[in-house]
């Protein structure tokens, strides 16, 4: 069952269309992420779901009820803010109890639920600490507890780990996932960090310039990227664009010095401009057996990543091809000339959209 549904939701600030006709459906108990570069409208979308912004047009439904005109304090959602927004004048207990007190629950009930929640976020014993005295990670947990204690149907999180150091981020990611599984709450998680989104999400939506480019599971997104934007935003890829020609059950796309052969079933049906995504790990260095595709290149740059090595290979027309190889042999030196090869099924045809910047 769908917990949150957005139908053709738009948001216009002044003359700027910040969110452009978004359609989304988030299932109950799902960990759903909105992924996209900074400024693409993720926060605005989340704030519309929370009730901090009103959609300019379109419908927003939560558990089947239209929410467009329901004020924020009457929605079954709670938000973990990007800047946390803890109440500086209250201690940990009173921060977490804030929503329960507003509901007018009896004191013992409040104390019990806050205690339970402190256990969930591993902050037992910190009740009477001032929130300003806590570390970043602890403040983060208070923010999550403060929202989650109200048992919302949907918990909305806006880059909650963005301000923390990497190690803490990874630890809290695991904790978030555990909390989400144990409470069964629907999570909608906003992030610009693709690794985080892929790690955490059951499904995710990739956003770009106010639009949703693709919705699907992390594996789906990676293996069957629908657009060039998604392909380059999720992981790294080589984009090849050119006219497709068909001959003898094969399709050929030529782009400068590159000429890629693939099964014609994988290419668009009509002749014309085609964009292909060729993942770096699908390219083989110095293939032992001949492959359907091959090209000569020299090593331009070497990036040692531990388990793998990322090469920037220069081809005849001067362009760079990313190639990722297992680091089971010593890396090649810069300037080495090599033969590269890949199979017919390596490159996938995608829709062309604005290409994401080169993000790690």
């Amino acid at each position: 069952m769908a917990d949150v549904v957005l139908k053709a939701v738009e948001k216009v600030f002044g003359s700027e269309r910040v969110v452009k006709s978004i359609d989304l459906s988030v299932n109950q108990g799902e960990f759903f992420s909105l992924l996209g570069p900074s400024g693409c409208g993720k926060t605005t979308t989340l704030r519309m779901i929370a009730g901090l912004e009103t959609p300019t047009s379109g419908d927003l439904l939560i558990r089947g009820e239209r929410m467009n005109d329901v004020p924020i304090n009457r929605r079954p959602t709670n938000l973990v803010f990007q800047k946390l927004a803890l109440f500086p004048h209250l201690d940990v207990f009173d921060n977490i109890a804030f929503g329960l007190k507003l509901k007018g629950l009896p004191r013992p009930e409040i104390a019990r639920r806050v205690d339970d929640m402190l256990d969930v976020v591993s902050l037992a014993g910190f009740e009477r600490r001032r929130v300003t005295e806590l570390s970043g990670g602890q403040q983060q947990r208070v923010a999550i507890a403060r929202a989650l204690v109200n048992a919302p149907a949907v918990l909305l999180l806006d880059e909650p780990l963005g301000a923390l150091d990497l190690k803490l981020q990874l630890r809290l990611q695991r904790e978030l996932k555990r909390i989400q599984r144990s409470t069964g709450t629907t999570f909608i998680y906003v992030t610009h960090n693709q690794a985080e989104a892929l790690t955490l999400s059951d499904r995710l939506a990739v956003m770009n310039e106010g639009r949703v480019e693709q919705i699907g599971s992390p594996a789906d997104m990676y293996l069957h990227s629908a657009t060039s934007f998604v392909a380059s935003f999720i992981g790294r890829t080589n984009l090849i664009a050119g006219e497709a020609t068909f001959a003898g059950g094969e399709a050929r796309v030529t782009d400068g010095a590159l000429s890629v052969v693939l099964d014609d079933a994988d290419a668009p049906a009509d002749n014309g401009r085609t964009v292909l995504s060729l993942r770096p790990e699908r390219i083989v260095i110095a293939p032992k057996t001949p492959m359907a595709n091959g090209i000569d290149a020299t090593v331009a740059e070497v990036e040692f990543l531990g388990a793998t090595v990322l090469y920037r290979m220069r081809i005849a027309d001067g362009r760079i091809l990313f190639v990722q190889a297992l680091a089971d042999t010593p890396p090649l030196a810069e300037g080495t000339a090599v033969r590269l090869g890949w199979g017919k099924d390596a490159a996938v045809s995608i829709r062309s959209t604005t290409v994401a910047e080169d993000v790690e």
Partner: protein, 277 residues
């Protein structure tokens, strides 16, 4: 960095002299309140508490004190109630024409108090003739005049404090189920408690000591204490006024020094500076 010792000592001596200058008129008033000489002879001719007896028995001063307390408390309450939403709006809502609005709002800080007093007097008399509304020489009139003087001061302090409260805590409170008013009361107001206290105390002291505007809008029945003192001093200069002043100094210092217990000193300083722009 090392400064020359001479310069340091010169500055310290200068500071000590300044502090002596600042305290001198206040100390002499306190000392003179016990002076047995009715003509302020110096050095004092002996010790007496007669002047305190005279002050406490003086019906004009008694009435003035009661009037001043009533006027001070009511006008402070009014400017806090009216000033808080104005400061909130100035800090939170982006406005076109805000410069003009502020110019009018803060004008009483620049317009000479004597001119304000006279203008209010003229207004009260004109309103009285035109509508029968009685403002001149009434509590309502004096309170209104004091509110005019105090409102910009209170708004200035509170605007700064509201500016320092992250608007996002209000959104957080709303998200957790608070109505707009509850969000303001539970998430914002507690954070500006100190500023409310400071501006309230300064407003009260301003009202309690105010003469220059008040002189124009009072009639004997509602004379405030400083106005009674002013008229008294124009005629007599015996230590009665010293005794009364000593009592007042003790009173205002007691109120004002209670502030640092509520707010930190440097915060206080910042608020005072910001209020004077």
């Amino acid at each position: 960095m090392q400064e020359s010792a001479i310069k340091r000592w010169a500055l310290h001596i200068f500071l000590a002299a300044t502090l002596a200058f600042m305290l001198a008129p206040i100390l002499i008033v306190v000392v003179n309140s016990f002076n047995a000489s009715a003509f302020n002879a110096w050095p004092p001719h002996g010790f007496t508490l007669d002047w305190y007896r005279k002050v406490l028995a003086n019906p004009a001063f008694q009435r003035g004190t009661v009037n001043s307390l009533i006027i001070g408390v009511i006008s402070t309450a009014i400017v806090l109630v009216l000033g808080t939403p104005i400061a909130y709006a100035l800090a939170r809502i982006r406005l076109r024409g805000v410069t003009g609005l502020k110019a009018i709002l803060f004008a009483p800080l620049i317009v000479p108090r004597v001119a304000i007093g006279f203008a209010m007097f003229v207004l009260f008399v004109a309103l009285g003739t035109a509508t029968g509304l009685r403002l001149y020489g009434t509590f309502t009139g004096v309170i209104l005049a004091h509110c005019v003087l105090m409102l910009p001061f209170v708004v200035a302090i509170l605007t700064v404090s509201f500016g320092e409260v992250d608007p996002i805590v209000e959104e957080a409170a709303r998200d957790l189920g608070a109505s707009p008013i509850a969000a303001f009361r539970l998430a914002v107001l507690p954070q500006i408690k100190g500023a409310l206290l400071v501006s309230g105390i300064f407003a009260f002291i301003t009202s309690f000591d105010e003469v220059e505007t008040t002189l124009f809008v009072v009639r004997p029945a509602v004379n405030t204490l400083p106005v009674e003192m002013y008229h008294f001093l124009e005629q007599y200069q015996d230590p009665t006024i010293a005794a009364l002043s000593t009592l007042l100094i003790a009173f205002t210092f007691f109120i004002a020094l209670a502030v640092p217990f509520a707010v930190k000193g440097n915060e206080l300083l910042r608020m005072m500076t910001s209020g004077k722009q």
